[in-house]
Every structure is written in C-alpha cells, then in structure tokens.
Amino acid sequence: MTPEARRFVAYGFASVHDALAAESALKAAGVAATAIPSPRALGELCGIALRVDPAQSRAAEDALAACGLPPRASAEIDDI
C-alpha cells in the first residue's frame, strides 16, 4: 500500500439516496468510490458516505458537481 493510499477523502451527502446516486455518477465517470459508514469527521454519525482516493478527488468533485450532487461535507482522513 502506498502512503497516498493510507489516506482517503470521504464525502457526505444529504441523504442515503443522494449518496447512492453519487456512487452511481462516480462509477459512470470512471472514479472509484466505496460506500462506507459516515465517518465522524463529516460531522454526522449515521448514514452512508463515499470514500475516494485523494488522487481522484478533483475528478470526483467535478463529476458530482456536473450531476447536481455536490457533497454536503468532505474530509481527508487517515486510514488505519
């Protein structure tokens, strides 16, 4: 695992529906995203967030903006 891969960007959304719509949009845009339990760093303790490699965060944010699903919150987090 590279040092970069030990960090990830987490994106939070307004709802589970939006998170899954975002997952679908990122897949269509060729951005790898993994659904994860919402991390505390996003300011919420329930729900689903998306985890993206930091190297793809720009592409992810562009894709999400293009489909009208801007994240409600984001955070760069150290993996364990």
Binding site: A14, H17, E44, I48, A49
Partner: protein
C-alpha cells in the same frame, strides 16, 4: 384447475378465473415474486442504515426500485417519489400534509374512500369540501370543475385519474390547467391508472399523485408511492428513524425522500415493485393493448345480455379495464357468489369502497358487481365470464 367449477372447492387460487384486478392484480409476474424472495433471502438487512455489504445491497435495491418507478411515471428526479405503505397512505399524506383548516377544496363525486374519508376528517377540522358530480358513466366534465373552482377561493382540486367503479378516465391535464390558472393545486388519486395507462406525471402537470403498487403496477401488496412535484412540500404524517446522516437532529429531516419514509421500509415489497416497474417499462405498452382488447370484448359481450346494466364509458371510449354491472333480477352479491361457486370466477360485489361513486351512478342502494381485466387475463377467461353471466341471467 385443481377444483372443478361449482365444487365449492378449496378456494385455491389456481381454480380461479381472476377478474378482480380493480382490487389487486393477480397473478404477479414471476419476476416480481422472485424479486421479493431474493430481497428476503439475500439482502434482508435494513436499507439505508448500516453500511456493511448486505445493508448496502438492500439500500441499492431500494434506490434502483425508486429509479425504475420514477422512470415509469415520467418523474425526472427519483427523490420526488416516496415509498409508502399503499395508495391509501399516499392519499392521506397528500391531503393531510397539504390542507389546513380554512382551506376549500373541489373534489369529484367519484372518489374512493381513500380520498373521501380523509376529507371527512379534514372537513371536521375546518376544511370546506365541495363536491362536483360526474356524469352517469362516472366521467367528470372539466367545465363543471372550472365553474366550481372559480366560485370561491380554492386551495386544491382533488380527482382520481380513473374510476375503480366504472373505469372512466378523468380529464386530468385539463383539471391541472384549471387548478393552476386559479391558484390551486391538483391532487390526484392514481390507484386505478398507474400501470393500466401510460402515465407521465410531468406531462400531466399534477402537483401530487398517489399510486398503488399492487394494482396495475403488478407489485406486491403493502407498497405504494406518493409523487410530490419539486418545491411542493407536504407535512409528513410520521416522524421517526430515517437512517441518514441527521440522526442527531430532533426534528424530521426535510429532504426527499427521507422526510416521508420514517421507519424501516418494506424492502421486499419495494423490490417487487421495482421489478414490476422494470417489466412495465419494457412490456407495458404491449400488455396495456392486450388488456384493452380483452376488456372491450368483455364489455361488448356483457352489454347485450337482457336485464343487465353495464356502467362505464362506451366500448370505443378510453377507459381503464374495469366495469360494474347490475341485473334487474338478481342482486349483485348473489351474482358474485354464483359466479364464484358455479364458474370459479372471482369478482367483487358491493360498493367497492366507493360509496360516492355508486351514489353518482345510482347504485348506492343496490351495490353492483365489478369486473376488472388485467395482466394475465385470457380470452378464455373473458368468454367464460360472458357465458356465465348469460346463463345466470337467462
């Protein structure tokens, strides 16, 4: 058949010529049954709560079902479609969530109890309810609605899309124009239309549309939909867990669809409805044409039978595949019983949860027998029904 007609049989479903599609569609397509079973056996976790693999699978199942239902109904943003327990809940939500004491509504005389009973409660709370009468076929005249709306300030026009008693299709697009030109909402009970008609909610320009999942949409019982146009927010009926990222908040989240989906959803039912929606997207036009062809054959076969009065639009008029009839010799309940016991034909007698509609067509005191054609009905079913009525009334 497992039981011969007239045996009094075991009541098993296979012995039945099923013509009660106005109540619920049956049999369900195998894909719908498989989707329900698959949901229960492979992703029975709580959707939208945990983020472990099976919970995510359940959440994605709900997500994809919502998208399929939205596509089927012509709704661009699936968030505008909420899953509810059925059309009755959807009607309650759109009425109680959008109306307040002091409001006035104009409503058709053909409404089901899913509309008329919530309106009764709202009337007791101070909502003024003015009823506009349909004609003898159960069809509303939009100009009558326009006159009523213009008479007094109106918060909403409320109308079914199609009648569960006569099959009449109401002029919903005209009513939308009338409502909106007069500053009112158009709230529609689509229980009998969705699946039997090609429904495009954006084109119809409705403000709210209640849908049954288990009738023409061919889904399981226990699931339905409510569409609210973007920007029109109803007060939710229930508050509770929604699983999303706002659990710490005291108040119900206001975003869609979570606002209207408190509590664990009916995931197997939603899975089945999603499968049904996908089938209808692929085959709906063909299946609707078959229904209409068989229904015309039924109506044309029944109308000449002496002593029988068949209610509903003429055979060449658009309608959903439902009709009611009365005999001048045999009570409706007796006809339904004899059709079941002698011929294995399943139809429903009575008022069909629509006393307003029966009052409109003049059968409130007698009830009537309802026949509903749907997916799975065959030419033989229709021929048997016509022959059976002819024999019973000979």
């Amino acid at each position: 058949m497992t039981d011969p007609p007239g045996s009094g049989g075991s009541g098993t479903a296979r012995s039945c010529i099923y013509l009660d599609h106005g109540a619920t569609s049956w049999p369900k397509p195998p894909e719908v049954v498989d989707a329900v079973v698959t949901a229960m056996t492979t992703c029975g976790a709580n959707p939208g709560r945990g983020a472990y693999t099976m919970a995510l699978a359940a959440a994605r199942l709900v997500f994809e079902s919502r998208r399929a239902c939205a596509d089927l109904l012509g709704v661009p943003d699936a968030r505008d479609v909420a899953f509810v327990s059925g059309c009755t809940e959807a009607c309650n939500l759109m009425l109680k969530g959008l109306l307040a004491p002091g409001d006035r509504v104009v409503v058709s005389s053909m409404e089901h109890n899913a509309i008329s009973r919530p309106l009764h409660m709202l009337a007791l709370a101070g909502v003024r309810v003015d009823i506009v009468r349909a004609d003898a076929t159960g069809t509303m005249d939009a100009s009558d609605v326009e006159r009523a709306v213009r008479a007094h300030a109106t918060r909403a026009v409320i109308c079914q899309h199609a009648s569960n008693v006569t099959g009449a299709i109401q002029p919903i697009a005209d009513m939308a124009d009338i409502a909106h030109e007069n500053g009112a909402l158009l709230l529609v009970d689509g229980a009998q239309a969705a699946g039997h008609l090609d429904v495009d909610l954006v084109a119809l320009d409705v403000d709210a549309y209640a849908v049954s999942g288990h009738k023409g949409l061919l889904g399981p019982q226990g699931v339905g939909l409510l569409y609210l146009r973007p920007g029109l927010d109803a007060t939710e009926l229930l508050q509770g867990g929604t699983g999303g990222g706002s659990s710490e908040e005291e108040s119900q989240p206001q975003g869609r669809p979570e606002r209207y989906e408190a509590g664990t959803p009916n995931t197997p039912g939603i899975a089945g409805l999603g499968a049904a929606a996908r089938l209808l997207l692929e085959h709906g036009a063909e299946w609707r044409a078959d229904e209409q062809r068989l229904f015309r054959r039924l109506k044309d076969g029944l109308r000449p039978i002496p002593g029988l009065t068949v209610f509903g639009p003429a055979s060449d008029e658009p309608c959903v595949p439902t009709l009611t009839l009365v005999s001048d010799r045999i009570d409706a309940d007796r006809i339904a019983f004899l059709l079941d016991r002698r011929y294995g034909i399943a139809v429903r007698s009575g008022l069909h949860c629509a006393p307003w509609a029966h009052r409109t067509i003049g059968t409130l005191d007698t009830g009537a027998v309802r026949f509903g054609v749907g997916h799975g009905t065959t030419s033989d079913d229709v021929a048997t029904a016509v022959t059976a009525l002819s024999e019973l009334l000979a």
